[in-house]
Amino acid sequence: MRVGVVTFPGSLDDGDAARAVRYAGGEAVGLWHGEDELRGVDAVVLPGGFSYGDYLRCGAIARFAPVMRSVVDRARAGLPVLGICNGFQILAEAHLLPGALIRNDVRTFVCRDQALRVENATTAWTSDYEAGRRIVVPLKSGEGGYVADQATLDRLEGEGRVVVRYVDGNPNGSMRDIAGVCSEDGRVVGLMPHPEHAIDSLTGPGTDGLGFFTSLLTSMGAAA
């Protein structure tokens, strides 16, 4: 199983995402922002960071990177894509996922071990969890407030497309405590918290995040 991890200028957690893919048993393949070649990968992770400095608006410039043309095309055809933090912001800017991420209501960057509830355990990236499970993974973002219009929020709820929700307190003012959402086919998932930082209790709050990466391998039926 080859999982591409994109490096944009300003990507920071690309190494961590690649490590998480390896921990799950996959092969991490580096993808460069300036090339539209996806090198035959079976899935793509858009990692956290500050692509292009997040100047203008988070994810707004990365969306136009050559690699994103291919990611968007393939995602519409079912390629599993996981956007973490800045990756989620890029997916929202690219309209692969609905809604937008705005400045935290607390108006500061928030870095903490965050409790989440897995709401949808049927996506390509969450099938190894049971629905309703409480997990703890790091959240670290300044612009993580999820917003969308009421109709969109209602549709997401109705279609079960809220993938993870904040519990034990809303850290950033996200509407309906939404931490992550998915595409209609459940193949594209974006979330603000960082599952790749919760794969080893030595360096994270635990191993609750590894399930995102093992889920992919399970759902693709090809654990290497």
């Binding site: 300003g10 920071l12 190494g15 490590r19 500050f50 400095g53 870095c111």
Partner: protein
Amino acid sequence: MSPDTVQRAARTPDEPQPWADLGLKEDEYARIREHLGRRPTSSELAMYSVMWSEHCSYKSSKVHLRQFGEKAPQTDALLVGIGENAGVVDVGQGYAVTFKVESHNHPSYVEPYQGAATGVGGIVRDILAMGARPVAVLDPLRFGPLEAPDTLRVLPGVVAGIGGYGNCLGLPTVGGEVVFDPSYAGNPLVNALCVGVMRREDIQRSAASGVGNLVVLYGAKTGGDGIGGVSVLASETFTDTGPTKRPSVQVGDPFTEKLLIECTLELYAAGLVVGIQDLGGAGLSCATSEMASAGTGGMRVELDKVPLRDQTLAPEEILMSESQERMMAVVEPAKIDAFLAVCAKWDVLATVLGEVTDTGRLVITWHGETVVDVPPRTVAHEGPVYHRPYERPSWQDSLQADDPSRLARPSTPDDLRATVLRLAGSPNLADRSWVTDQYDRFVLGNTVLAQPEDSGVVRLDEQSGLGVAVATDCNGRFAKLDPYEGARLALAESYRNVATVGARPLAVTNCLNFGSPEDPEIMWQFAEAVRGLADGCLELGVPVTGGNVSFYNQTGETAILPTPVVGVLGVLDDVARRTPSGFRTPGQVIYLLGETRDELAGSEWAHVVHGHLGGLPPRCDLQAERELADILVNASRDGLIDAAHDLSDGGLAQALVEACLRYGVGARVWLPDGLDPFVGLFSESQARAVVAVPRSEEVRFTDMCTARRFPHVRVGVVDDGGPDGAALDVQGLFRIPLDELRAVHEATLPASLATPTTPR
């Protein structure tokens, strides 16, 4: 306007020059003329003024700092010592680690966000220039009283600036300090420490070597920011009157710095760099003169080739600009194409400015005309050296005589309980999450421990588990009571913090923050602190690898507490063996290590409850510190302890509060027989720690302490409280439920600093 050329300077020897406005003294100006045999051009004057500033030349501190070399302990660990951008130590398995702490105090007062942000950026480039990948940052910060209006201006900006820059750069912030004291009200201290790692053979030097090799400037364009930053900002005392100095503060772009890091590491890996230096204080003046004097001896630079953000900049301004995110490299001509290709890959602008020569002169031209022609050593290394007068302050005796024995002490169980709570919620001891939650501690995936742990611990090698621990400490009140002992106590605490997590202390960096060196009493504080630190490092066997001096930290006549911040770096052969600070497993036995004496002078209790500072600081026994460190490191390696927490500010009471709140697991504690409960709870005696020992290891652990004749006493058990809930229960005195303790401990900073939110 035509530039002031060397030819013109020779023709117009008597032309008046603004040396005083540039911060030079009359004799210094005379000395420049002597070096050159003529008046300097305006460009040369600009270079000398910034390079001979206190900040760059260490002219007041040099004669004292020599002790760090003269008294250096014998060690095989030191690969690069004082004098380079940062010192480098051998941490084993082929790895070398470089670390250094620097100040950005004045810019952070003027413009908190950018001042703090560029403080991080500057130290990160120092580490990068040594050949290392930066891997972690720590931020020792000091502010005026928490409730002071200006603190509410400065602190949020500083914290947001550190977070905004460090987070965007992708470096975990793993530790530091947040200290409040009235003396920092008009003069906050913003120090930043960076740690970097490389293979031993990959150490880079900042020398312009090899005649004909090319001098390349790469990174951001040069703008008007930070011009005169070093001379005007860093070397003059703030006064209430006078023009605003905001334009002298640099503006940071962490995104460019991130690209600069990745680009530079790729250049190193491809073997494309002969010599390298970052551009920080004094900008191009510093990089050209230092690299030239460290190398073959000469350099020719075409200044008009420098890419500019502002086309109106004059050559003097370009030489002084402190625009951030710039590096200078020396590259062999045959490799320049490859060098430029790597820069292009990372969208980093790179420009060949000139070449290395063997003329012994640094020659800088502006559109073909020579504006600088100097022996580079006279700029970089042969600046003035002052033997400033120093004198023990007239008030030192009365300060030391005013010991805290006359202060009312709590004696009833209720009073003791209330004091524990009051201290736990006091600004210096309260939970720091409001600050530290604004820093990314996870990025890079190697952070094993971060604040509020005793030290930050980062893994260097995923296979072997090799890692380093770093802590910074200083109690400025102790340093005021006795600067010599205060510096040794800062070293002792930092050393102890590193050992507490299980790391073997290896090397020291320091950031010496003091008032004006022109005041003999301040100079005495400085001289005493340096002497104390050098003596202490020799006694503990840990060399000073580098550091930074920040003078003129005062507002008007009022100086800050003398604040020699000491950073200690230690090594863990396997970070999986690190010892965290929190109690976790009920039933484990709590031991207090070390000797407790009636030592309350300069303590947090005296400060919070009585607003008192006087007496002599706690005794500093470095031999005991060394023995304690040995026990903590060996106990970690042998798996004898599950938690350890150092005793410092607030004494045993605060250490227990923190160890209980970390994981929400309580403790039942009995104070040692014969010890006054107040002294037992609040004394700040040194060389102490609490540890949690699994019962299965208790005999081995106590045998180890006994064999070393180190004082150890069983003071309690880790306890989840059963049906009553977790609590800190000091038997026979009081019981405080952890919920109550947590509420007090966590409320203080947000109550002053948090902004209200409105629901979406």
